[in-house]
Symmetry: C2
Subunit: 347 residues, 2 copies
């Protein structure tokens, strides 16, 4: 049974919406052992108000958040240097690094969560930059979009690492021989800006010898179809814009299609289903601990989905599989000197 630490203080609706998710998880998901990370008195009051027996959930004390306008690295470096950290994402990430929990989840500030994971758990050897992987329920099956917003300063080298990590993650999801595509603005080689042009060359030369099928450029319109590629590689800026654009369009479609059918019910059902599935959160690839970052605006249902995603990743040993696959794929270390030395926070 996976033990999942959940950040009570992250997200637009925290702590109430997170507490709603806890109540549902405790009644519906008996296979998950939940640890709540936040102020014990607040947690106790919220759980009591939801009719949850306090004995059913452990609470790890945490009292602070990283303010939205603060530099996560500055705040969290100070917090990490305390005997006992106080910031909820740091407390949760440390719980995973010490083995007190198998996975952790936050639906707060992405940059803070990524930074806490790197500081507390460390990076997988060979990954210069962790990357957020979101599973899209595409028409042809699951598609891993990576990086969905962990880091903004991509290079051909980091995009190649991202491709490798995304490919191994897709395999742990059960996708056989996942095809990797580079998100671009045209299918032909040479399309796009300088980063894309250089990354194309790098991916085309480095992936095939590792047994990874690189199919070249794909466009934004290919992503939701999921036919050309099951792993969509991009920088964190573009990935995050696309991810949120897809979410916004699904909401648009629910309204417009609902009107066309004269009944918005089934459309809302699809939206709920998507929002409550693996799409609800991103798994951070490239850190030595299962870390799931959800959307700050997520509902209790979406937060519950993030916890389930984290538990499944822990149960399946996704991080170990990724690390092992990465090590064996890499053969010789990738960007050796850089690994684990640069721990700047993301978005």
């Amino acid at each position: 049974m996976a033990r999942v630490a959940l950040d009570l203080l992250g997200g637009d609706g925290a702590p109430e919406v997170v507490a709603d998710a806890v109540a549902t998880l405790l009644s519906e998901d008996a296979d998950i052992d939940l640890v709540l990370v936040g102020p014990p008195d607040v947690a106790a009051e919220l759980l009591r108000a939801r009719g949850v027996r306090l004995a059913r959930v452990d609470v790890l004390p945490a009292f602070d958040i990283v303010p939205m306008d603060a530099n996560p690295l500055e705040v969290l470096r100070i917090d990490a240097s305390r005997d006992v950290p106080r910031v909820s994402v740091m407390v949760a990430a440390v719980a995973v690094s010490t083995g007190a929990a198998d996975a952790w989840v936050s639906v707060g500030h992405t940059g803070a969560a990524v930074t806490a994971a790197v500081l507390a758990c460390g990076k997988v050897p060979g990954m210069t930059r962790p990357a957020l992987a979101v599973v899209l329920p595409a028409i042809q099956g699951p598609v891993v979009l990576v990086d969905a917003g962990a880091f903004l300063d991509a290079s051909p080298e980091t995009l190649t690492q991202v491709a490798m990590a995304g490919w191994s993650y897709a395999r742990t999801l059960g996708v056989r021989g996942p095809k990797v595509g580079l998100l671009n603005i045209g299918h032909e080689p040479g399309k796009g800006d300088e980063l894309r042009s250089l990354a194309f060359e790098e991916l085309a030369s480095r992936l095939p010898p590792l047994g990874i099928d690189f199919i070249g450029n794909i466009e934004g319109g290919d992503v939701a179809e999921g036919l050309r590629a099951q792993v969509v590689v991009t920088d964190g800026f573009t990935g995050n814009v696309l991810l949120k654009g897809i979410e916004g369009t699904v909401a648009w479609a629910a309204k417009r299609f609902g009107e066309a059918y004269g009944d918005v019910g089934p459309a809302r059902g699809v939206v709920r289903e998507v929002a409550g599935g693996d799409f609800a959160g991103g798994l951070l690839l490239g850190v030595n601990g299962v870390t799931v970052v959800g959307h700050g605006s997520g509902s209790a249902n979406a937060i519950r989905a993030c916890v389930r995603l984290a538990a499944r990743a822990a149960d399946r040993g996704t991080v170990d599989m990724t690390r092992n696959l990465f090590a064996s794929l890499a053969g010789k270390p990738v960007a050796d000197g850089q690994a684990n030395t640069d721990d700047e926070g993301g978005s």
Copy 2:
């Protein structure tokens, strides 16, 4: 009655799908005077096969296209130096620059169309880079996404020009006091990569004195809602990925929602309506001639929508309004030395 030159040779389904669009336009859109640009014998045969009387449509002879793997600027500079150009986008753009047509449309290679427009029609003073503006049918009303793929090398300066051009275009669409947002990965100031961070400062300092309401950063998820901003400013790479991502998601939604309702008909109706509306093509802002670039995969219905968009822009004098507004807004010339000197092609 607007006279619109239509490139017979551009697009995935050319020339047949373009000819299908011509047949529909001639029977349904009596307010548009169509000029077909392509090989006269091919045009004649295609039109005859569709039962169109040849006397009903003028044909401007053109014989070549810009190959997808070629550099449009190289190919079109050579073509522009001929006494009589041969490449269809060049012939069409020249027709507008000489007044032989009021607007032109291509659903082929975006970079080729943008380059032809710049070479033949010239740039609006003050615009260093033209930008492709696509009108999205957002929930709250039309939203102008700009740049949707004309140029990839954005700077804070060019993004400010793009914002101004997009704002004036939104006004010609009837949006009152359009609000301008910078596409980013968070709402707070300072979010995003270096370009976004610098562009935010530039937009915040330059737009308000011009009477343009800059509301700051918006996210991908805000675009399809259309509440925070009616003008979404971004670089051509991100804009193109988002645009195609939205299209792909609409197709995804038609399938998933259609299944949820047990009847895909109304969903397909919404898709057809969107694909056959203003969304079908982008208006190129910043060139001295009405230029509409459609999606290469567009149906005959979408191509017809592009022609209607071009005709409306010509009838409303959108280019003149944009140019006048731009000149008056700019007060002093923007990036004066650069205007009209750099005519490199786009994507």
